[in-house]
Amino acid sequence: MAVSELPGGQFLLAKLDDVARWAQSSSVWPLTMGLACCAIEMMTATAAEYDIARFGSEVFRASPRQADLMIVSGRVAQKMAPVVRRLYDQMADPKWVISMGACASSGGVFDNYAIVQGVDTIVPVDVYVPGCPPTPDGLLYAVNLIQQQIRQGGRGGILARA
């Protein structure tokens, strides 16, 4: 973000776009949605050791209306798929999706009738995190990537849609 300081130090000048992106990228609030064992790692990412609050994403919202980020943390059963899609539809724009772990990304070891073979068949995914399960820092890196996307005005960014 380009910020210039006026002589005297009373003002900072910046483009409104940049300020908005900075604010938006620093408060990516995830949806409270744990699907399987990856959710344990997701919870660990919120705890003191990894502390997702350092990136402004500690506020897991219990309502999709208040959430910006959907973390698909685990395998998606065929029965859960319409629910995931509905939650995604209920989230307000702009919104992002992280597909966390092998099962959410591809079905993982569950190559069977009951599991959706990749959550990208039902919702658009911004970042895939490999691992089974991914480490919490893997998830933090995914959040960082989404923050980068927002600051550069990428897909779903408030200004990309204008």
Partner: protein, 205 residues
């Protein structure tokens, strides 16, 4: 312990014994669907007040094809003596169900705990429980077709059944002469060696 069961017709490779020997902690009874309710009512009156679980088994090729299995427990408290505390008595009731008309009477009115268990067996095996108050699918979506725990249900579901599985370059595949989309183990090792800047031949020397 001698078995008191009437064997179903015909043992198969999947169910070679057909008659299960009674085991140490559980008596095993085999009944027909017609005898089922009377047997279970008798057991309940006899003190087997806990219905632990209702399960299903599929023996394709056997007649009757399915077994519905009831696990009953007589609690030590009702067994009478202090010495019996800690050794609950168990009974397993096997009920053969024919494929042509897969139906048994429901016992959800005798044990409320059997309600959801029967729905699960219905959902996954397609066995009907006549007289059940609310016989809907419980685990799969309501519009699901088929019963996945039947042995003839394709693992990946009917829709994906015909899609070929990816053929990985496993050693066993290579040994069996299976072409693995051009990526044999030897070819992969060559690639890895090339990436390391050395050839396999050098390593073997």
């Amino acid at each position: 312990m001698p078995s008191s069961q009437t064997p179903p017709a015909g043992a198969t490779a999947l169910d070679p014994t057909a008659v299960r020997p009674d085991i140490a902690d559980a008596r095993i009874l085999r009944v027909t669907p017609a005898e089922l309710r009377a047997t279970l009512e008798g057991l309940k009156a006899d003190g087997f007040t806990v219905m632990m679980d209702v399960g299903g088994v599929d023996y394709p090729g056997r007649e009757p094809r399915f077994d519905v299995v009831y696990h009953l427990v007589k609690l030590a408290a009702s067994a009478g003596t202090v010495a019996a505390v800690g050794t609950p008595e168990r009974v397993r009731v096997l009920c053969g169900v024919p494929e042509a008309d897969p139906a048994v009477p429901s016992i959800a009115d005798l044990w409320p705990s059997a309600n959801w268990a029967e729905r699960e067996v219905f959902d996954l095996f397609g066995v009907r429980f006549d007289g059940h108050p609310d016989l809907r699918r419980i685990q799969l979506p309501a519009d699901w077709e088929g019963h996945p725990l039947r042995k003839d249900y394709p693992l990946r579901g009917p829709a994906r059944e015909r899609a070929p599985r990816p053929n990985f370059a496993l050693k066993s595949n290579v040994a069996a002469g299976t072409p693995a989309s051009g990526r044999t183990a030897a070819a992969l090792q060559k690639q890895i060696a090339a990436a390391r800047g050395q050839s396999r031949e050098d390593e073997t020397k």
